[in-house]
């Protein structure tokens, strides 16, 4: 099997917000199709590391190479990154146009159906529960069939069938050879998929 070169490579990564150093000396490699699990207590910088990988922030020091073009990355963060006063359809339609998703309507319909939001597709996000908002954020993150999927504590605020849907989705993504980065407090849940893991302590 050809050695699959690293899709994401970090060497001595450091991130500083103001005078606070949030990430210090983080190094790892993630090959294509692999799944990196990021663990660590709250405030250890998990979300910051994922924002760096997702392309939402630049490292203060150190090297971060991402072999995938920014718009081929799917990002799920603590914030849903949607407009609360728009409906699910309107949000996904906007992002579909920006990402240039082919057959946008069909793809949106399929995703909303798969994540159980089809009935609520015309309701505004402000009327959604936290679990429904999290599912919509998942639809937005997967809308453009990204090659690299970055998920920051995706299991948070999901109910049981939401969790089942998510686990199934992670399975299909891994099977499809997508590269995953998952930050979680419950590594057991994604242990089956993980090809690598990194534990962040307080910098």
């Amino acid at each position: 099997m050809a050695v699959s070169e690293a899709v994401v490579r970090a060497v001595g990564l450091e991130k500083r917000y103001g005078l606070r150093t949030v990430l210090r000396d983080v190094s790892f490699e993630l090959e294509s199709g692999g799944a990196l699990v990021v663990t660590g207590p709250n405030g250890a910088g998990k979300s910051t590391l994922l924002r760096l990988i997702g392309g939402l922030a630049a490292p203060s020091r150190g090297l971060l190479e991402i072999g995938i073009e920014r718009r081929r990355v799917g990002f799920l963060g603590h914030e849903p990154l949607v407009y609360r006063e728009l409906t699910a359809l309107e949000n996904l339609d906007l992002y579909g146009r920006l990402y240039g998703v082919p057959e946008r309507r069909e793809r949106i319909g399929m995703l909303l159906g798969r994540f159980g939001l089809w009935e609520a597709r015309r309701q505004r996000i402000s009327s959604y529960s936290r679990g429904m908002t999290q599912r919509l954020a998942l639809c937005r993150a997967l809308l453009h069939e990204p090659d690299l999927v970055v998920l920051d504590e995706p299991h948070a605020s999901l109910d049981d069938d939401g969790l089942a849907l998510l686990d199934a989705e992670l399975g299909t993504l891994a099977a499809a050879g997508k590269t995953l980065v998952v930050a979680t407090h419950d590594p057991a849940r994604v242990a089956a998929l993980a090809t690598g893991s990194i534990a962040l302590g307080h910098a």
Partner: protein, 213 residues
Amino acid sequence: MTAYLGDVAALARKDLRLELRARDTLPAMALFVVATLVVFHFALPGGASEDAAYGLLWVALVFTALLGLGRAWAPESEAGALDGLVLATSDRSAIWLGKALATLAFLLAAEIVALPAFALFFAPLDGPALLGVLLASVGICAVGSLVSAMAAAARGREVLLPLLFLPLAIPLVVGGVGSSISPEPGAYLAFLGLYDAVFAILSWAAFEYVVTE
């Protein structure tokens, strides 16, 4: 190029849809500008010249624009939507252009209310004056959208926005007032066009650096 304009159109449409739904910026701007004109009526001493009234129109327009600009990036900062746009959009200047066009639409809508009210309360507005208002409004929205994005990244943005915006608006006020009261408004209109060109290009090129972390 069409993809870029597609992005701009989708982003501007999103703002118009949000405004029609929430209806919290446009009515406020229209009411604010008329109320300001009425206050100016009482503020103007009896014998004040007509020129002074034109000057006050521009003060009213600038502060009405400030009201709109203060809310320009509010929808984006709610559920982290700006990060979503920064990730999804191929050329981030489209985010600025979409916002500038939407803000211009709101400002023009407020002016549709303000200008007849001004003509009614104070003095007539001829062709060059209206063109001056249009050209200045373009400049206000181009620079204003960028500057309010800067303020959105800072603490105390409500206080900061006027401080950042007003010095940049001074040339627009000069051009606008000049086009209303000067016998040959041509020079002032040309100046407004120059301002719009210079600062629109600068804002268009600089926006990428303002929103990326």
